[in-house]
Symmetry: C2
Subunit: 129 residues, 2 copies
């Protein structure tokens, strides 16, 4: 995306009092939700212009381009703000695990309400109610 | 879920300085990400015990059980905290539109990086890279 187009998106986003936007990250084809991160305006700009996902680390207070140390990069495939602009959904191609624990997703550790098995199938749309 | 089990989940969740947890809501079978909301500890407890999703409205500063006024209820099918407990992913059965605008999802308005068409197909796993 061009700098100009990215600036228009950044202008439309509504960052919170700390200057941050929550970002939901979904594997573009399987639709697994991989993780939630945060971006400030500059992290959003870099993500859109470079096509690689950059977060703002709240704990380290620094930019964090996913995969620069781990190799587990996220390449942008799609992006949408929500209806009031205060949350962002990214579709990515995730290389390797998304979670720092080495798991594919940050969310699959100890689910307390596990889904029925068929929810994890993607090859049988008729099987869903 | 019993009150006791719900209390254990609430104890594991890490709420932010405002006492809130971001909640990603996904249609359990199609895996569409529908919206992002927020819960405090009591909204999370009610959601888990009742099996219907209740948020804390930051703008109205009140509990908001999804569908009580609109009829567009969310029934809980699965739930997971992330690796550090500061984000929640819910799998729901969404009745009617999830968004107050009348759209199915809060995110499908004016995508600025639209996905390739095949990302919206669920019947062709071989078509994905």
């Amino acid at each position: 995306m061009t700098e100009q187009d990215a600036a228009a998106v950044v202008a439309r986003a509504r960052f919170d009092a700390a200057g941050l936007l929550p970002v939901v990250v979904q594997q573009w084809d399987s639709r697994e939700v991989l993780m939630v991160g945060y971006m400030n305006a500059e992290a959003l700009r870099r993500t859109l212009v470079e096509g690689r996902v950059t977060y703002w680390s709240r704990s380290r207070q620094e930019y964090w381009r996913k995969g620069d140390t781990s190799g587990n990069t996220q390449h942008l495939r799609g992006a949408e703000l929500d209806c009031d602009g205060d949350a962002l959904l990214l579709q990515v191609e995730q290389h390797g695990p998304a979670c720092h624990t080495g798991e594919r997703r940050c969310f699959d550790v100890d689910p307390f309400l596990p889904l029925p098995a068929q929810a994890h199938r993607t090859d049988d749309p008729e099987g869903t109610p």
